[in-house]
Symmetry: C2
Subunit: 201 residues, 2 copies
């Protein structure tokens, strides 16, 4: 299946978007609409991100490399990528990275439909003991603490550096950053569900 | 006790900052330092916020009123402020509002010490069944879903409107917004702890 955003499932191992292997989200489309309204997410945000699809495609790997460098500099962050020997598991890191880069493009392009909702549940689970390491058959720690998922948000939403010089007008850069920020918050909010005590999400 | 930021405990009912009534945080100061580093929080952010203490003091109520208007327009948000009759509990709202306004000033001024850490745990608990309603003796729903705490972040971090015209330079406004954003994310990250399944925070 192909579309304006390219193949539905690029050949990335473990990238189970739209696949029966993906978890099913317990969040309804009505719940999702309420979340979007809470964030202030509108069709304008969706269009603004999609309009810059080529920018995100061209910058996605650079963005991930930049964030990975932040992680690599902090032992309390990179330890979740470490193998049983306490050293970074490069196989794991490489496997996750391809999906991380694809995620950047997906944030900017995927409509918020049931397949997308299901895959956010899947990504959330892959940060918790239920599914971490399973996709790639690795032996890193069993989870990534929720605190670091949330505390990393200001890092991955400070993105204007990646829009320069492609977007010359500072107001346009700010507007795109705000749309990106809302989208990322929506994703991480959904990822937090499997971390949450029964009934409190 | 008084200091540069005014009385330690303003006379706001239920404002238990630095009081023995506050919960104790299970987060260590070392954990906190790791979280701050993750966010990219530095002494520069702290100084930038503190430099604008008078701006935050003068704008705090306006900020809270603006956010409250966003909440009031969305039934899935205001329902957590409703009494058993399904209507907004104005007594509860008024009591919480005074602490919410004080929180804005505190974000900009309080050092991140043990008393501050403890009170963030207390605020988190007050959004969950363990302590919601208890402070004010009201009967609103027993919790605020974590999803809305997180999805509201882009609303409370989009604050440049409150810095205009006091801060004329757009770059200074952006820098102050980024410092505010990091600080708010640190707070909400700490508030998410009581929501989190055992061992995953």
């Amino acid at each position: 299946v192909t579309g304006a955003v390219g193949p539905l499932n690029p050949t990335i191992p473990g990238y189970d978007f739209g696949s029966p292997s993906s978890a099913q989200s317990p969040i309804s489309l009505e719940d999702l609409a309420n979340l979007e309204q809470t964030l202030g997410w509108t069709g304008e945000d969706e269009q603004r991100l999609r309009k810059h699809i080529e920018l995100f495609r061209s910058q996605a790997e650079r963005m991930v490399d930049t964030w990975r460098a932040v992680i690599a500099a902090q032992p309390h962050l990179w330890q979740w990528f470490a193998g049983p020997d306490g050293k970074p598991d490069d196989t794991y890191k490489a496997a996750v990275k391809r999906r991380f880069v694809q995620w950047v493009v997906d944030v900017a392009t995927r409509p918020h439909d049931q397949a997308w909702l299901n895959y956010q549940e899947e990504i959330g689970l892959r940060h918790t003991p239920e599914k971490k390491n399973k996709t790639d058959g690795r032996h890193t720690p069993a989870y990534v603490p929720l605190r670091y998922l949330l505390a990393f948000l200001p890092v991955v939403t400070n993105v204007q550096q990646f829009f320069d010089p492609a977007i010359a007008d500072p107001e346009d850069r700010t507007a795109l950053e705000r749309s990106w920020t809302k989208a990322v918050h929506l994703h991480i909010t959904l990822w937090s569900r499997p971390y949450t005590r029964e009934g409190l999400f």
